[in-house]
Subunit: 269 residues, 2 copies
């Protein structure tokens, strides 16, 4: 057996040393962070029936009697505007409010379904099961625990209400003039039945398309405690799969939703 000795040495040297235990910090350093959130300002997009959107009031800004600089504000906002969470209770009585959604439901690997080619000439496009099938053909079955983000391309219009919402008018009557793409209720039903997803997100103002009258996609998903993220920004920066999403909403007790800071970690190539 003496002649095999060199080979054994090679095997012994070539194998990995039991690696020093990696920290999360070290793991994360292999990727970069992408902010998927719009800021809140007087330009923030709200549903037309909100007469007032985001409002920031200065409490103090300048030199104090003590001689040091100080600035502080108070703000007002409807829960549903800008980059925000829809808690399931928004459309499903008794389901999770913003403060009750388990953190695990808001953190997960993203699947990004691109339907830009379908929306180019059709602001009323509703994303279908076929769009999922096409994605899965290329990327494999949507895994359990996925956060499914739909990229319609609408982000390029934000915050231009006329193009992003379909109308810059305000008031209840303006809701009939909303035109933007989102998720077809049949797709919502299909996802519930066939995949185990944590949440959905869209780069448009709502997970139901602008012309929806019954918000069926909301009703279906929220009845299953699957939250929605609306007006998600910068989806163009995400790969079709492999990004990891951290969606942390303001923790409003009994809230039906609220401001959402959503970011993604993407591994560097």
């Amino acid at each position: 057996m003496k002649q095999y000795l060199p080979f054994l040495f090679i095997i012994a040297l070539g194998c990995n040393q039991p690696a020093e235990k990696q920290t999360l910090s070290q793991f994360l350093s292999k990727g970069k962070w992408i902010d998927l959130s719009y800021d809140f300002s007087s330009e923030t997009i709200y549903w037309p029936n909100n007469p007032v959107g985001f409002k920031l009031d200065t409490q103090f800004n300048g030199k104090t009697a003590g001689g040091y600089y100080y600035s502080s504000n108070a703000f007002f906002s409807p829960e549903h505007g800008g980059t925000h969470l829809d808690a399931p209770v928004h459309f499903a009585e008794g389901k999770w409010s913003a403060d009750k959604i388990p953190l695990e439901q808001l953190l997960g690997e993203a699947v990004v379904i691109d339907v830009k080619t379908k929306t180019t000439n059709n602001a009323d496009y509703q994303i279908t099961v076929d769009d999922i099938t096409a994605w899965e053909k290329e990327n494999g079955t949507i895994h359990d625990g996925a956060i499914v983000l739909f990229r319609t391309g609408w982000g390029k219009f934000y915050p231009d209400a006329a193009n992003y919402l379909g109308t810059a008018e305000k008031g209840e009557a303006a809701t009939a003039k909303l035109h933007f793409p989102a998720i077809h209720p049949e797709l919502a039903a299909w996802l519930i039945k066939n995949r185990k997803i944590k949440a959905v997100g869209v780069d448009t103002p709502s997970i139901d398309y602008g012309q929806s009258k019954d918000f069926k996609t909301h009703q279906l998903l929220y009845a299953e405690n699957i939250p929605g993220f609306e007006n998600v920004a910068n989806l163009d920066s995400l790969p079709a799969k492999g990004a990891y999403v951290f969606a942390l909403p303001m923790k409003i007790k009994a809230g039906s939703g609220g401001p959402l800071r959503i970011i993604a970690w993407v591994e560097k190539p």
Copy 2:
């Protein structure tokens, strides 16, 4: 050499196989999530000079004409209350506002300095360089990029204003009656000079102690673009080191701070 053969076999078999590339999702599954945020409600703690704190107004709650359930609210809040961010511009003109803080500054490994024994009989305790020295003696030097969280034990009083703030009174005059521990300005200066930290956090209402008149700790840290997290919850659940903090504030354009959803990942033992 024949007699060494068995040892070589052992070495060859005992070494790790080149591991399949791990995903972030797989890495995170080795730990658990801890929510370090209080919810926002009428009980949320604000500085006494805020006549109104958090206010949630129902826009709609019940069955719609369409026959489906719907709930939606609007809310009002001063930026500085509950679990919240102090953006550097809160006390340092021209420094980062809430929307301008780079994500990297808000994400990092936590160092948790426990000073409970010092605060038990002293609501006016200011955390000193000695407290850091004691921590470092046991845990090693605070690493670059640390998010330094100070655990005074005050969390047990939240949201009981009389005990947590030192007074349940409202109005400008009540600010003289504030008693709670926080960070001594000398420690703030020492950290700036001797350590490279990303942010600080406290389980009390402010990073300066209740009796502060000039908010020197705020002034010093924010001048260096080191943000502060106030009213941080559940610090008892964190180890002295090794937790990883994700502190995602509401993205208020030009905000001096705002609601913060802060969570930590802690590896399972």
